[in-house]
């Protein structure tokens, strides 16, 4: 593992990996294996995220934390343009994308699907976001195959996991005594060949890695027929049958008002969501107003500003904003990008301060639909 970190650094990558900070597993600059959260698992539920030590836990038995690849490809704050006033005219300084490429160790299958979804927004439409493209082209992904799922995970419902089968350069499966590494790209193979101490293992290692993934997948599939243990968090799943039409046919359902009674419109769900892409551009100028930076920051459909028109705010209530978020995520996203906007990572459930659970909201609408 240290050999992999070193090989990536040697090749010019800034290496990012999971580590414990402020009581959560987050992404940060990774220098050494020692920083990885060995022996740490995360217990997640609606509005609950707690780290725990477990004797048999490996380096990657935590699941997903508040961070995702989004913060690296579509950063929370980014300068889009810089302008200088010269001789009565504005000169736009060319955008520089000269930061070293990133290698991120740790994204799960759901995260890779989320990245593919953001690719459709920023790369695959009529217009391309140049900053996103530069960072995306440089990105090296060392994915991790989950062998554990949190109660909030429902990738099996969204068909986005748990096993990653494409979209990575390398994929790690952590076994009890070693890592099995799958090569997903030509440059993945090149890096792997440069890893000090790596050697091809016996075919049985591959089988063990595959078994581990299938076992997790089976246990997630069984959620539809098994009850959670008493006192344990509910194991999430989402019935996606006709989901697009279910929500769009229920735009006046009373459930929107009910969820709004609990929703704080804090926007946490949209910040931790690995696919949410709303942003605003603001002007930052110096005192002379002769040098201006245009800064793009994440924003959220839970704010009034999001739907502001000079004639008034379009979505005036929390009910209207929650409805916008959920119908976009699960319904209209399909019209826009040919896929759901949800990858079943469960972050919005975990990081909601009042524990609103979209799987529960959908189920409630489904049960009481006309």
């Amino acid at each position: 593992m240290q050999g992999l970190i070193d090989a990536l650094k040697e090749d010019g990558y800034r290496v990012i990996g999971p580590q414990v900070a402020d009581g959560a597993v987050v992404y940060d600059e990774l220098e050494s294996l020692e920083q990885l959260p060995l022996g740490v698992i995360d217990e997640q539920d609606g509005g609950v995220y707690r780290l725990a030590r477990r004797q048999d836990a490996g380096y990657f038995d935590h699941v997903v934390g508040p961070h995702s690849l989004k913060r690296y490809l579509f950063p929370p704050q980014e300068t889009l343009q810089q302008l200088q006033l010269k001789d009565g005219g504005w000169r736009v300084e060319p955008q520089q994308f000269d930061e070293p490429p990133l290698a991120v160790i740790g994204p799960r299958s759901c995260d890779l699907h989320a990245m593919a979804i953001q690719d459709r927004v920023f790369l695959e439409g009529p217009y391309v976001d140049p900053g996103y493209r530069a960072r995306r082209e440089g990105l090296f992904v060392v994915s991790v195959q989950c062998r554990r799922a949190a109660a909030t995970c429902f990738c099996h419902s969204m068909k986005t996991g748990p096993r990653a089968d494409h979209g990575f350069d390398l994929a790690l499966s952590e076994l009890d005594d070693c890592f099995a590494i799958e090569v997903g790209s030509e440059r993945g193979g090149r890096i792997l060949a440069a890893v000090d101490g790596w050697k091809p293992g016996a075919p049985t290692i591959v089988d063990r890695a595959n078994d581990q993934s299938s076992q997790l997948e089976r246990s997630m599939e069984q959620r539809s027929t098994t009850e959670a243990a008493p006192g344990a968090p509910k194991l999430r799943q989402l019935d996606t049958q006709d989901l697009r039409d279910l929500l769009l046919n229920n735009l006046d359902h009373p459930r929107w008002e009910q969820v709004a009674d609990r929703c704080l419109a804090c926007a946490n769900c949209t910040m931790v969501c690995p696919t949410c892409f709303c942003s605003s551009v603001s002007e930052v100028s110096d005192l002379t107003n002769e040098h201006v930076r245009r800064e793009r920051t994440w924003t959220s459909c839970f704010t009034a500003e999001h739907s502001f028109l000079t004639s008034g705010v379009v979505r005036n209530s929390t009910a209207a904003r929650y409805r916008q978020w959920l119908t976009h995520k699960l319904s209209t996203w399909i019209d826009q990008f040919d896929s759901s906007g949800c990858v079943g990572c469960g972050r919005c459930i975990t990081w909601c301060p009042v524990g609103i659970d979209l799987t529960e909201e959908v189920a409630a609408i489904r049960e009481t639909t006309k």
């Binding site: 005219g89 927004v121 892409f277 709303c278 107003n289 245009r294 459909c301 409805r323």
Partner: protein, 288 residues
């Protein structure tokens, strides 16, 4: 809701944030807080490439203040004479109102969908506009005037709050002379006003429409458009033949920022012009 979007020749699809410098060539005060700005590209090569279709908008940018989506209100056959009619109402448009002839702005565009007037040849057209909503349909009026013989009957129904709020008043005679039957109305008259009083949808009852032949274009406050649509449906006009120009918070014009979503549509790139058939499921949903 995914039309084949044509990227304009003056927009770089690989760097759509890039702007072009323009200078204000002329300013015409239309009504008290509304002025039309004629813009000229600094780079003649860009001016050469610049074309737009009726219904499209530009992003006008004042560095340090911000960007605003403004519809183009001039003749699409004369793209060199580029006009935007703007109400000073937000921070960007108020700053624009303080600009003078010769001042520089930055511009990205054009963006957005078109009133598909080229498909209306041989058909009757009703244009129903309210307030500043006349600006985005004026390119259509020009387009029709430039090839008037190719269209059937053409009606313009236009209304504003008061006589002082009516836009482009000096041009009504010219429109009438090119056989565009122009009906003007105001919500509230004054001592001098001798014309109609009432809202735009009420003008429909005067028209003898052939429902199968009629195409309707409407732009204005959403409430007005809803009642225009109701009139059209009462006259048995096909929802596919009713075109609406929607307004939402357009920040980027590229479908990146998410603000202008209206159901499945990004108003900036899928719109602003839609058929009523596309908008029907969402137009009457409160706060959507």
């Amino acid at each position: 809701m995914k039309p084949n979007i044509q990227v304009a020749a003056t927009v770089d699809a690989a760097n759509p944030w890039a702007t072009h410098a323009v200078r204000i060539r002329a300013i015409e005060q239309e009504v008290s807080d509304v002025a039309s700005y004629e813009l000229e590209f600094e780079d003649s090569a860009v001016a050469e490439r610049f074309h737009f279709v009726p219904g499209q908008f530009n992003m006008l940018y004042l560095p340090g203040i911000g960007e605003s989506a403004i519809s183009i209100s001039s003749d699409p056959d004369v793209p060199q004479r580029l006009l935007h009619t703007v109400r000073a109402v937000g921070s960007v448009t108020r700053a624009l109102a303080r600009k003078q002839i010769g001042d520089q702005l930055l511009l990205r565009g054009p963006f957005g969908s078109a009133w598909p007037v080229d498909l209306f040849r041989g058909q009757d057209i009703v244009i129903a506009a309210g307030g500043l909503g006349l600006a985005p349909v004026r390119p259509v009026i020009h387009y029709i005037m430039n090839r008037r013989g190719e269209f059937g009957k053409v009606w313009l129904l236009y209304g504003a709050r008061s006589p002082d709020d009516l836009l482009y008043t000096s041009q009504y005679d010219c429109w009438r002379e090119t056989d565009i039957e122009t009906h003007i109305t105001v919500d509230l008259g004054d001592n001098q006003w001798k014309g109609n009083i009432g809202v735009v949808p009420s003008l429909f009852e005067r028209l003898q429409l052939d429902a199968s032949l009629t195409r309707v274009l409407t732009c204005g406050p959403e409430i007005m458009m809803r009642f225009v649509i109701a009139e059209c449906l009462a006259q048995k006009i096909d929802p596919k033949h009713i075109f609406v120009s929607m307004e939402r918070n357009m920040n980027c014009a590229l479908g990146f920022c998410g603000h202008c979503q209206l159901g499945p549509a990004f108003v900036c790139k899928d719109g602003p012009v839609f058929t009523y058939e596309q908008m029907e499921p969402y137009l009457n949903v409160e706060d959507f």
